[in-house]
C-alpha cells in the first residue's frame, strides 16, 4: 500500500469491517491520516465512531480489512506494540487508575514512555526527570492543584483532562481523541482547543466530537460516519455545505440541541 509514497501515511485504514453478530458496526471504512493531519470524525450517536477507535487501537479485532501505522502493518499487532509504534488514544468514558493520585496516573504514562517502568529501584518521587515531566503535563492543563488527589475523588471534567495528559505523555505520532470535550465546561473546552492547537505540528490527530464549534475550529478535514459506514469526507467547508450530512447529522443535532 505504501509503495511509491515518499513518506508513509501516519495512519492508513483500508476496507475495515466489524460485525457484532448480525449488527454491522463498521462497514468498509477506509481513510488516511497524513503526518500532521488535523482530522475530525463526526456522526450521530451509535454511528460506530468509538468502535472505529477500538479497532484501530486493537481493543477490538476487525472482521476484515487492514490497518497500517507509519507504514507498518498493525492489523494483528498486540495493543501494547501499537502504542510503542506511536499510537495513543483517550477514552470517551474516562478509563484511569481510580485509587491512584493524579500525579501517579500521569507518571504511569511517563515511565511507560521512557521505558523505565521495569526499574525496581529509585523511588519515583526522587526521579527529577519523571517529576518534572508530570509537572509539565499537569501545568499544561492547569490541574497541578489536583496532583495529590485520588482520581476517584475528581470531578468528571477534571478526569477528562487527566485522560488527555496521559495520552500526551506518550508523545504519540498518531493521537485519537474520543469526545475529549464532552462534559467539559465552556472555559475548559476552550482551553482544550488551545492545547490541541499547540500540539506538535507533525502529530496526526483524529478527534471525535459532537461540539461543532470545536470541530470547525480545529479540523482541516472531516469524515462523517453513519450507521457504521463513511457517509462523506472532505474539507470543513465541503462538509458544512453537504446537504446529506446536514440531514443525518447537523440538522438532527441542531434540533437535538435546541430541544435540550
Amino acid at each position: 500500500m505504501t509503495v511509491g509514497h515518499e513518506i508513509a501515511a501516519a495512519l492508513e485504514v483500508v476496507g475495515l469491517h466489524k460485525n457484532f453478530g448480525a449488527l454491522r458496526v463498521a462497514r468498509d471504512i477506509s481513510f488516511t491520516l497524513e503526518p500532521g493531519a488535523r482530522h475530525a470524525l463526526i456522526g450521530p450517536n451509535g454511528a460506530g465512531k468509538t468502535t472505529l477507535v477500538n479497532l484501530i487501537t486493537g481493543v477490538l479485532r476487525p472482521t476484515s480489512g487492514s490497518i497500517h501505522l507509519g507504514g507498518v502493518d498493525i492489523t494483528r499487532a498486540r495493543l501494547e506494540r501499537r502504542v510503542v509504534l506511536g499510537l495513543a488514544r483517550t477514552f470517551q468514558i474516562s478509563s484511569l487508575f481510580l485509587p491512584l493520585s493524579v500525579a501517579e496516573n500521569v507518571a504511569l504514562a511517563v515511565t511507560a514512555k521512557a521505558k523505565i517502568d521495569t526499574q525496581p529501584y529509585g523511588p519515583v518521587y526522587r526521579r527529577d526527570a519523571i517529576v518534572a515531566e508530570v509537572q509539565r503535563l499537569l501545568a499544561l492543563f492547569e490541574i497541578e492543584a489536583t496532583a495529590q488527589r485520588r482520581v476517584a475523588d475528581l470531578a468528571y471534567g477534571q478526569r477528562r483532562l487527566v485522560e488527555l495528559a496521559l495520552a500526551l505523555a506518550l508523545k504519540p505520532k498518531v493521537l485519537l481523541l474520543d469526545e475529549p470535550a464532552a462534559g467539559l465546561p465552556k472555559r475548559d473546552s476552550e482551553r482544550l482547543l488551545e492545547i490541541l492547537m499547540r500540539l506538535p505540528a507533525e502529530v496526526a490527530v483524529l478527534v471525535i466530537e459532537h461540539d461543532m464549534e470545536l470541530v470547525f475550529n480545529f479540523a482541516r478535514r472531516i469524515t462523517v460516519m453513519f450507521e457504521g459506514g463513511i457517509l462523506a469526507e472532505g474539507s470543513v467547508a465541503e462538509i458544512r455545505r453537504d446537504p446529506q450530512v446536514r440531514d443525518v447529522y447537523l440538522g438532527h443535532r441542531r434540533d437535538h440541541e435546541m430541544a435540550s
Binding site: V83, L98, P99, L108, T118, P120, A132
Partner: protein, 336 residues
C-alpha cells in the same frame, strides 16, 4: 529560620503526590520491639522466630495480591518449595545457611515462573481456583515423592552450619531469631524499594486497570510475571528460613491451610501496605499459639469467629484502624 519562609521548589507538591513508604516512627517502633523481644522474652524466641518467618511470607503475598492484584489462594506452594529446596540443599550440597536461603528462593522463583505462565492467563475467581489447584497438585506430588520429601513423615536429619562460619545455631534459638530478624530487615527494605520504584507504580497501575496499562504500551503479563516471580522467591526464602531454623519440613508447609492462614494474616493486618504484614502476622501467630496451646480444635472456633468479625468490622485491616485512631488523636496528621 528565614529558610522556612522560602517556598519549597514547586515540584515538591508533585513529589509528595506519590505513594511513599517512608521509614517512620512506627517502623522504628516495630524494630525496637523486635530487638527488645530478644532480651526481654527470651523464653518465647521460638514463637518470635515463627512470627518473623510469617511476616516475610505475608510480605511476599502482599506484593502479589496487594500491589499486583494477583489473587492467590495457593501461596504455600512457594513456601513449601523453598523449604524442601533448602532442606535438600543442606542434605546434599552444603550446610551453609545463606546459600541455602538463596537455593530456596531460586527454586520457588522457578516454580513461580512456571505457574505464573499458567495463572496469569486468567483473572478473578478462575485465577483463585487455578492457584488452589496447582497447590493441591504439588501437595499430591510431595506426598507421593517420598524419596525427595520424606512423604508424610517429613524431611529431616540435615544440619545447618554456623552463619558466616561464626554464629552457631543454639538450642535456645538465640541465633535463629537474630538471623530471622536480619533476613526480615533485608526483605522489608527490598520490598520498600520495590514498591516505591517505577516498577512498583506500574504493577499498581496494572492492578487497577490492566487494559489502560496495555494502552500505555506496557506488556502487562510480563510485568505481572516478574512480580509473581519475585513474590514466589520471597515466599521461598521464608520457607527456607523455616526449614533451617526448625530442622523439619512437613507436607503441611504446602497445604491449603497454610495458604489460607497467610492470606488471613495479610487481610487482618491490611493489604497493599507493607506494615499490614507485620501487624497481621504477629497478631495471628501469637493468638493462634495461645489458643492452640489450650485446644487445637477450639482454636478453630476462635479463628473462624475472628475471621468473620474481622472482615465485617475492619474490612481494610488493623493498620487502617490504627491509622484512624492515630489520626483522631493528632488531627493534623496527613493520610498515608
Amino acid at each position: 529560620m528565614a529558610d522556612l519562609a522560602i517556598a519549597p521548589p514547586r515540584s515538591s507538591v508533585i513529589a509528595d503526590a506519590f505513594l511513599r513508604h517512608r521509614l517512620s516512627w512506627s517502623d522504628a517502633l516495630i524494630w525496637l520491639v523486635g530487638i527488645a523481644v530478644y532480651f526481654v522474652a527470651s523464653e518465647y524466641l521460638q514463637l518470635a522466630t515463627q512470627t518473623v518467618i510469617m511476616i516475610i511470607f505475608a510480605l511476599s503475598l502482599d506484593l502479589a495480591i496487594g500491589y499486583g492484584g494477583i489473587e492467590s489462594l495457593g501461596h504455600a506452594v512457594f513456601f513449601g518449595t523453598g523449604a524442601y529446596a533448602a532442606g535438600s540443599y543442606a542434605l546434599y550440597v552444603s550446610s551453609e545457611p545463606i546459600s541455602g536461603l538463596v537455593a530456596g528462593g531460586l527454586a520457588a522463583a522457578v516454580l513461580g515462573i512456571l505457574s505464573g505462565l499458567l495463572i496469569l492467563r486468567v483473572r478473578g475467581l478462575t485465577q483463585v481456583i487455578l492457584t488452589l489447584a496447582i497447590a493441591t497438585m504439588l501437595l499430591q506430588v510431595a506426598t507421593t515423592a517420598k524419596s525427595i520429601t520424606g512423604g508424610d513423615d517429613g524431611l529431616t536429619g540435615y544440619r545447618i552450619a554456623p552463619i558466616l562460619g561464626q554464629f552457631e545455631f543454639d538450642l535456645y534459638g538465640h541465633t535463629a531469631y537474630i538471623y530471622g530478624l536480619v533476613i526480615l530487615a533485608v526483605v522489608f527494605l527490598f520490598c520498600r524499594v520495590l514498591v516505591n520504584s517505577p516498577f512498583g507504580l506500574t504493577v499498581r497501575g496494572i492492578r487497577d486497570n490492566p487494559l489502560r496499562m496495555r494502552l500505555l504500551g506496557v506488556p502487562v503479563t510480563a510485568r505481572l510475571l516478574t512480580l509473581y516471580t519475585i513474590s514466589a522467591a520471597l515466599a521461598g526464602v521464608a520457607g527456607a528460613l523455616s526449614a533451617q531454623v526448625t530442622g523439619l519440613i512437613g507436607t503441611d508447609s504446602l497445604s491449603f491451610l497454610l495458604s489460607g492462614n497467610v492470606l488471613i494474616m495479610l487481610i487482618l493486618g491490611g493489604i497493599g501496605r507493607l506494615s499490614g504484614a507485620f501487624l497481621g502476622a504477629t497478631v495471628f501467630v501469637v493468638v493462634s499459639d495461645r489458643a492452640a496451646a489450650i485446644d487445637p480444635f477450639n482454636w478453630l472456633f476462635v479463628l473462624g469467629a475472628m475471621l468473620i468479625l474481622a472482615v465485617r468490622f475492619t474490612p481494610s485491616g488493623l493498620t487502617v484502624v490504627i491509622d484512624r485512631l492515630v489520626a483522631r488523636l493528632s488531627p493534623g496528621a496527613r493520610r498515608t
